[in-house]
Structure formats: C-alpha cells, structure tokens
Symmetry: C2
Subunit: 223 residues, 2 copies
C-alpha cells in the first residue's frame, strides 16, 4: 500500500486540494514530530490531551500511567485517532479573509492494542524516547521492572490516515492585488534553546551528544 | 470568580500536583498562544483538528467554513472542549522513566454559541486575527459582506477549565543521583523566521509593523 484509502473518517472535505493520502508523506510528517493530540470521550464530552509518540512500521506507540483516563478510554474504543501538526508560518494576505497558516498536519485512525509483553514494552519506550531525542536511550538508565510495570503502553495500528499541507505564499482575490498591503509569509521556526544542567547533577558531566545533536521538527523533512 | 470549580471534566487526576485552576493563569496561557486543538465525534470516532482562536472575556472564539464538519458538530453538543499546549523544554533525567517535558497547557470546557450578528462576527474575526498577529487587522482589507456570510463563527462560553504547568529540572530517584548521566532541561523555543514577501506583491511595500513586532508564544507569559 502506498496510499491510504479514503473513508468517512479520513477523507478531507474542506480544503481538499491540500489533502494528501500518500503513505510516505504521512509517515514523513509523523516522523518529524513527537507530540500528538489524542481525543477521547468522557461522559459525553470530547476531550483532547497532548502526548508523546513514536512509530514502528504501521503502528504508533504512546505511553502513560496505568491510571491515565485518556489511555484507558482508548482501550475501550474500536477506532481511535490522533492528530499531529507542524506550524510552519503565518500567511498574511492583502485581505483578512485570505489569511491562513502554512502547516504540515496528519490525522491518523487506527485500532488500539494493549502492549503487555515486557520486551515489547521496553522496545516501545525506546522508540518513543528516541523519537523525542535521538541518542538519549543509550545515555540514560533503562526502566527497571517496577517502572515498566507501572507504565501503560498502547499501540495504534494505523488503518486510515490523511495529511494536509499548505506551503505557499498568500493567495488573494485578483481585485485585491493592487492594494497597498504587504502580503507574504512570516515563517515560524522551533529551535532548541539553552541546555540547563540540573543543579544536583554530578560534577564534571559534559552536555551529552543527544542534546548537542537535537534538531526540532527537522528530521528529514524539508523546511 | 478567580478559580474554576472542579468537575468530572476539568479535575486533573494524573499529575494533580501540577494542576492549577486559577482563572488569571488559565487566561494568561490562552492569551499567549493562538492555535488550539478541538476534539469532536464523527460516527463513533473521536477526531481532533487544530484551529486558530481568540478570547473575549469568558468566551473563546473560533471560525471556519460554513461546511466545516468539526465546526458544525460543535453546535450539536451541549459541552465542548479544547486544548492549548506550549512545549517549553525537554526534561532529560538520569533515568528514562523520569524523562518528561516542560509545558504550559490548558483544557477548557464550555457551551458553544453560534455567532450570527454581522457586527459581532466582524468583532470576533478581528479578535482572532489580532490574537494571531497583533496589528494585522488594521493593515489588511476587512472582510466584505460575502466573505462574512461564508464564515462560520462560534463562541465557546467557558464553564470549566484547568491548567497544567511543568517548569522545573529533572526529578530523579535518590538512588540515581550518582549515575554518570547528565540531567537537565533542553529548552525549546518558537521564533519568527524570515518574512517572505509574495512575488505578486505591489512594488515598494515595506515589511509591515505587525511582522516586525511579532513574537511567538511570548505575549506576557514568562519563558
């Protein structure tokens, strides 16, 4: 499969000319971020919570506490979804109406799977950690048995997905082109800032490679 | 009211020591961002979509196309919610288990209100635009009647809300303090990048004040 098939869930209706179902693109966008938003329903209200994720093939991996309401609710659903969005710029048109943003976003649908096997759980936590900051897993102490037992790991086996990408300048009405209004894109970038060492850190430890090499939202995706 | 009362919706259970119900803090976090995530339910699946917002008193304002599935579904609900989250840093502990992120986040619950009065709609669009980039409304052409008629504006009258903030270094187990592992926070910052003028822009137009003065995620909130 190189394209996700379209269903009532993932078919993009609004702004459909920006919709893309190419699997490689969807995965490229997913792999260039590490925070997703996961919606769930609690007592008739839809709620959304941000959380970290990683990807192994067609499975997304998330984790949380054993008592996490969002995580537990996912396990009761047949189909769950999550959303990932990069904000790349503000699109400033001559008219207020055609203001927009440049972005790369994905909505994924899938089947939730409880991951219980200790080796699989450990692998999932490594994938999530490495997706946040590559190289960190090998630097830090691995989870012990007690920590592993207190962590809930859920896989989401992707069944449907769609991407939406806007990556262009302002698009105004022809009759507005002569207005004395600047139009263009103000790019937005996320960067690592200072690395602030813990005060209780052992003396003499240098900033690790994972921190020195960290690049946000830029793992192979064009900016 | 200076604090939101706690209900089954907004009461934070997991990590409750980081939970805050102070109204001023909730509004400060809301006012320092402009993208929220709005969850809704479509054919038994919870879905979440990012969108822009603004705030007027106890009402949040969002807008979209007249046929936007997410927007229309909100109007059918008694209680809707949305989430706003700033990622401020990666918290790197000595143990993988105590890795975390520093963040400022808010979950808001409220009653959806369709805003139909043209003057109220115009005001809402100005508030949303100005919340994204201050000063832009006065620079650009205002929406005309046709544009206003094709825009759906929804208010969300806030009934409950909670904030969660993590703003500290790594917190490890005492028995890990002697490990030869660097611990600390890698700060994450969002900045405006280049201002890329449209090629079809009228000659001689200078970069406007709204662009020159733009500061992302930094409108009065400590970083």
């Amino acid at each position: 499969m190189t394209e996700f098939s379209k269903s009532t869930y993932n078919k993009v209706i609004r702004g459909s000319k920006r919709a893309l179902y190419d699997k490689a693109l969807v995965y490229e966008i997913l792999d260039s971020h590490f925070l997703c938003h996961v919606p769930y329903v609690h007592e008739n209200a839809a709620i959304v919570i941000p959380t970290a994720y990683g990807r192994k093939g067609d499975r997304l991996l998330i984790h949380g506490s054993m008592k996490n309401r969002m995580m537990l609710s996912l396990l009761e659903q047949e189909k769950v979804s999550l959303s990932v969005a990069h904000l790349d710029g503000l699109v400033l048109a001559r008219s207020v109406f055609h203001h927009s943003v440049n972005y790369r976003s994905v909505v994924v649908f899938g089947s939730p799977v409880l991951i219980e096997d200790p080796a699989e759980k450990m692998e999932a936590l490594e994938i999530i950690t490495e997706n946040i900051i590559a190289g960190r897993w090998a630097e830090a102490r691995e989870p012990n048995e007690k920590e592993l037992n207190s962590t809930l790991v859920i896989g989401i086996d992707i069944t449907e997905a769609s991407a939406k990408v806007r990556d262009e300048g302002a698009v105004d009405e022809a009759f507005d082109h002569d207005l004395d209004v600047w139009a263009g894109v103000l790019e937005i970038e996320a960067h690592p800032g200072r690395a602030v060492k813990n005060e209780d850190c052992k003396a003499g430890l240098e900033t690790p490679a994972s921190v020195l090499n960290f690049r946000f939202q830029n793992k192979g995706v064009k900016r």
